[in-house]
Structures are given as C-alpha cells and as structure tokens.
C-alpha cells in the first residue's frame, strides 16, 4: 500500500510536469501546424537560465523560475517572428528550422556551461510525513506549481478573448482571418507561451531530476508521445495523456522495474493507437 501511494504521487507529479510540456507542444501544433523539435531545447534552456540566475546573479530561486520562463518565452517569440513566420506553411522547412534551433541551443549550452551537470538543487529539502507515507517537499511544491500553471493555461485558453482567438486559429485559419483575426500577430504569442511553459518546466524540474545539455532529448520524445497519444492539437487530450503516461511510468517502474517499465508504456501506447489511431481525443484528420 505504501509503495502504491508513493508511486501514485510520483506519477501525478510526473504527469503534471509532462502536461505542462505537452500543452506547449500541442498548442504550437494545433495553432501553427508546426511540430516544434526545439521544445526540449527550451526545457534545457529554462533549466540553465534558472541555474544561472541563482548561481551567477544570486537571485532567489522563485524569481529565477519566473525569469527563466520569460527568457524562454521571449526567445520563442523572436524565433517565431523572425524565422518560423516566413515558412509557417512549409512543414519540412519548419521541421528543419526547429531541429536546427534545438541543435544550436543544446550546443550553445554545452559550449557555455560544459558537458558536466552543474550543482543545481531545489531550495527546499526534506520530506513531509503523513502516517506511514513520506512525501518529498520539493516534489509537492513542483506539483503544486505545475498544477497551478496548468490551470492558468486552461483559464487563458478557455476563459479569455486571447484564448478564444487562439482556438479559432487552431480550428480554421482562413475562417478566423475572414472574421478579422490577424494570424501573424497571434502566432508569435502562441509560440512564446509554449516555449515559456517548456522553460518554466525546465526551471522547476531540473533541480530535482538532473540538469545537463542533453536532457532535452527524452523530454522531446515524451512530449511527442503524449501529444500523439492525446490526439494532435488536443489540449484536453494532451493533459489526460500526460497524467496517464506519468502514472504508467511510475507504477511500472515500481512494480515491473526499469526496462520492463519503459516497455509497458510503449505497449500501452501501441494498444491505444491501434484502437484509436487519432489518439484519445484526436479528430480523424487535421486539415492543413
């Protein structure tokens, strides 16, 4: 029972982190039709930016997380405005651009900070005890912040005029423009939001997991898997799939062990995609 509760907590915590990452990934695909291969790069950049703000600038960690979110968001905004914007309907070109940006980000970080993992620790240590259960405080704090951020994203997308405009663009760009919406104004904002979410997740999670130039690779793979599982472009689908993947990872690693655990996840994904090829909440096909 203790291990089940612990695994559940870890799974929910992982799911919340994955959800933040996947929401950004699916927003960019849904609104721009771009598969952002640089998403993992923004996660790493967020981690290193927070590390730099804490270790070199001496700022408190919460402020460093906010600044890392802003830095990655602004960089995402500029990247979309200056490069993606011109080629937004060319899928191969945007794929190459985002892949190139990822390589530039990870190589730049490698050159600047070196290949070793820096010492970057979460400022709160210790565990919270509730009966026979022990919960690491850092995980609880990250979970709470991630859940708040997810709620914030949902409020933005489903309760504001900006969110309504973004959803309209995701539904049909031509119809939205015919009603007066300016896609080229909203695309960079969507990209900035998504990259900011990736950067914030990196700033929150890397002090608990690990920080190194290559940690964006599995992040990209997991985000991609979650978004496909949830249904490309589906915000609700990405959220549900993220928590599903987090829980499956946690349970399988506790009850099956490392490699079998990873296998269990991919078997689950395979079964779901055989039954529902467009993902849990995906539409049959996305119009270009």
């Amino acid at each position: 029972m203790t291990s089940f509760v612990t695994a559940t907590l870890i799974g929910v915590s992982l799911g919340a982190q994955y959800a933040l990452l996947a929401l950004g990934f699916t927003l960019i695909f849904g609104i721009l039709g771009v598969v952002n291969f640089a998403h993992g790069g923004f996660y790493v950049l967020g981690g290193y930016a927070a590390y730099w703000f804490v270790s070199a600038a001496g700022l408190p960690y919460p402020l460093a997380v906010v600044l890392a979110t802003l830095v990655t968001g602004i960089l995402g905004y500029l990247f979309e405005l200056l490069l993606i914007e011109r080629l937004v309907d060319d899928h191969l070109a945007t794929l190459m651009l985002t892949l190139g940006l990822y390589l530039m980000l990870s190589t730049g970080i490698l050159i600047t900070f070196g290949p070793e993992s820096p010492l970057f620790e979460f400022p709160l240590n210790g565990t919270l005890r509730a009966g026979p259960f022990y919960f690491p405080i850092a995980n609880l704090v990250v979970l709470a912040v991630c859940l708040l951020a997810i709620l914030g994203v949902y409020a933005l997308i489903f309760r504001t005029d900006l969110g309504r405009a973004l959803r309209a663009l995701a539904d049909d760009r031509q119809v939205a423009a015919a009603q007066g919406l300016r896609p080229r104004l909203l695309f960079p904002l969507a990209f900035a939001l998504a990259c900011g979410l990736a950067g914030m997740t990196g700033a929150l999670v890397t002090p608990i997991l690990s920080l190194a130039p290559h940690v964006g690779d599995p992040v990209l793979a997991t985000s991609f898997l979650i978004v496909i599982l949830g249904g490309l472009g589906s915000i609700g689908g990405a959220t549900v799939a993220a928590f599903l993947v987090g829980l499956v990872e946690a349970y399988s690693s506790v009850y099956l062990g490392g490699s079998k655990g990873a296998l269990a996840l991919f078997v689950l994904v395979l079964i779901i995609l055989v039954v529902r090829p467009s993902g849990l909440f995906g539409r049959i096909a996305r119009e270009a």
Partner: protein, 246 residues
C-alpha cells in the same frame, strides 16, 4: 442605393507563375447592390473572390473600397474594413458548437447588440436555433453552409462576397439564400457579390451580372439580356460543329 461606388475593381490581373487566371477585370459594386458573377468552371471566379478578399494579392491593377485603395491588403484588415467573404465549402470552426462559432464571429468583429439580436432571429429562421450546442461539423451540410453565411453576416459587413452559396444545397434550401441576402442588405445596408452556377438564384437576386470566361470579362448587364447573348451561351455550351466550320 447611392451612385457612389463602394467597391471598385480596376484592370485587375492575377497570375500564378506562368498561368494567368484572369486579365484586366474591371467593375464596380455600388453600396446596397447585388451583383452576380457567373462563368464556366475554371473561369477564375473563385480566384477573383480570393483576390478581392485579400487571400492573394493581385498581380496588377487596383481595388478600392469607398474611394480608399485596398489593393493587396490582407484578409484580416479587409474584414475589419467590412469586406467579408463566405466560402464555397462549409467553412465553420468545425470543433466548436454553433453557439461558439457565432460567439467568435461577433466578438472578433466587435459587432453591436443589434447584430446579436438579428443573428438570433436568423438562427431561428434557418432552423439552427435548436442546434446551438451541437458541434458545427455534425450539422447537416445545408445547415453548415447557412452557419458559414451567418458567420459572415455577424461581422456586420459593408461588402459580402459569397462564393457559390447554393452549392450542395437542396432546392428547398436555396430559398434561404434569398432570405439571407435580403437580411444582410436590410440590416447592414451592404452590397453583395455572388459567384454562383444556379441561374435561377442569379436571376432572382441579381439585377446585374458579370460573365467571366477563361479569365476575361465577356459580358455585363441584366441577367435576361446577358444570358441570351450568343457569346455567353458559347462560353457555357461551347461552339457547335456548324459554328466552328462557319
């Protein structure tokens, strides 16, 4: 209707690389007027709408609205200036409900309350009211087309460009287009340009029509007069062997 031209199209040309879709097309659309554009498939009618609404810039020529040049302006700017189009296919926000579709159109265009009230009346007239909470892509085809027209109406247009509004509709549904055009003119005082193959609808709604054939404007005038012209009939039907021999 006034004598001041609302939309003026002057010697507009559209080319895609070496392919010239239409050449030196000129006409005007006065405020409140309903103008039909007909022509065989491939004549360049939909491309004309795409150029007028800003989807494609013209290769040459100019377009003005109320005396101001709008040549080459993008779709969203033209929509905000009151030049709004509908689409040949059912173009609604597919994953959104009928209510959300209309809510978006009303909000994005900042429509006044009177438009909201009129939209509500038109929803009832077009039998869309009981389906307000259904996803738009689950509606029957005819209702999707009417919803697409209502989205254009809800923006409060000065000029409406309707691209084959009757295409795919059953005969009994086509009278709804008449009601829609009447409502748009009465409520917004807008002019309407209709690209259409349904000649009955064109005769009913358009006091004046243009005929495009292979990218050239070959005729202009009242439907009864234009549709009786030999060159217009030939554009649609082709030449007979005897005519070609002669």
């Amino acid at each position: 209707m006034t004598d001041t031209p609302g939309l003026e199209v002057d010697r507009v040309v559209k080319r895609f690389g070496g392919l010239q879709v239409f050449h030196d097309v000129s006409f005007s659309l006065r405020p409140g007027e309903v103008l039909g554009v007909i022509g065989p498939n491939g004549a360049g009618k939909t491309t004309l709408i795409n150029v007028l609404c800003g989807r494609f810039p013209p290769s040459a020529g100019s377009v003005s609205l109320d005396g101001k040049s709008i040549t080459g302006l993008p779709t969203h700017r033209l929509a905000r200036m009151g030049l709004v189009r509908s689409f040949q296919q059912t173009n609604t926000f597919k994953s959104a409900s009928v209510r959300e579709n209309l809510s978006r159109a009303l909000r994005f265009s900042g429509a006044p309350m009177r438009v909201v009230e009129r939209v509500d009346a038109l929803l009832r007239q077009f039998d869309l009211h009981p389906r307000l909470d259904e996803p738009s892509d689950k509606l029957p085809y005819g209702l999707q087309k009417m919803l697409g027209l209502l989205l254009a109406y809800a923006t409060g247009p000065k000029v409406l460009l309707l691209d084959e509004p009757a295409a795919g509709l059953e005969r009994r549904e086509r009278t709804l287009i008449d009601a829609f055009v009447a409502a748009a003119r009465a409520d917004h005082g807008c002019s309407v340009l209709i690209v259409e193959h349904d000649m009955d609808l064109i005769r009913r709604l358009c006091p004046r029509i243009l005929v495009l054939d292979a990218g050239h404007l070959i005729a202009e005038g009242p439907p009864a007069e234009v549709l009786a012209r030999r060159d217009v009939i030939e554009a649609y039907m082709g030449l007979s062997d005897e005519d070609e021999a002669a």
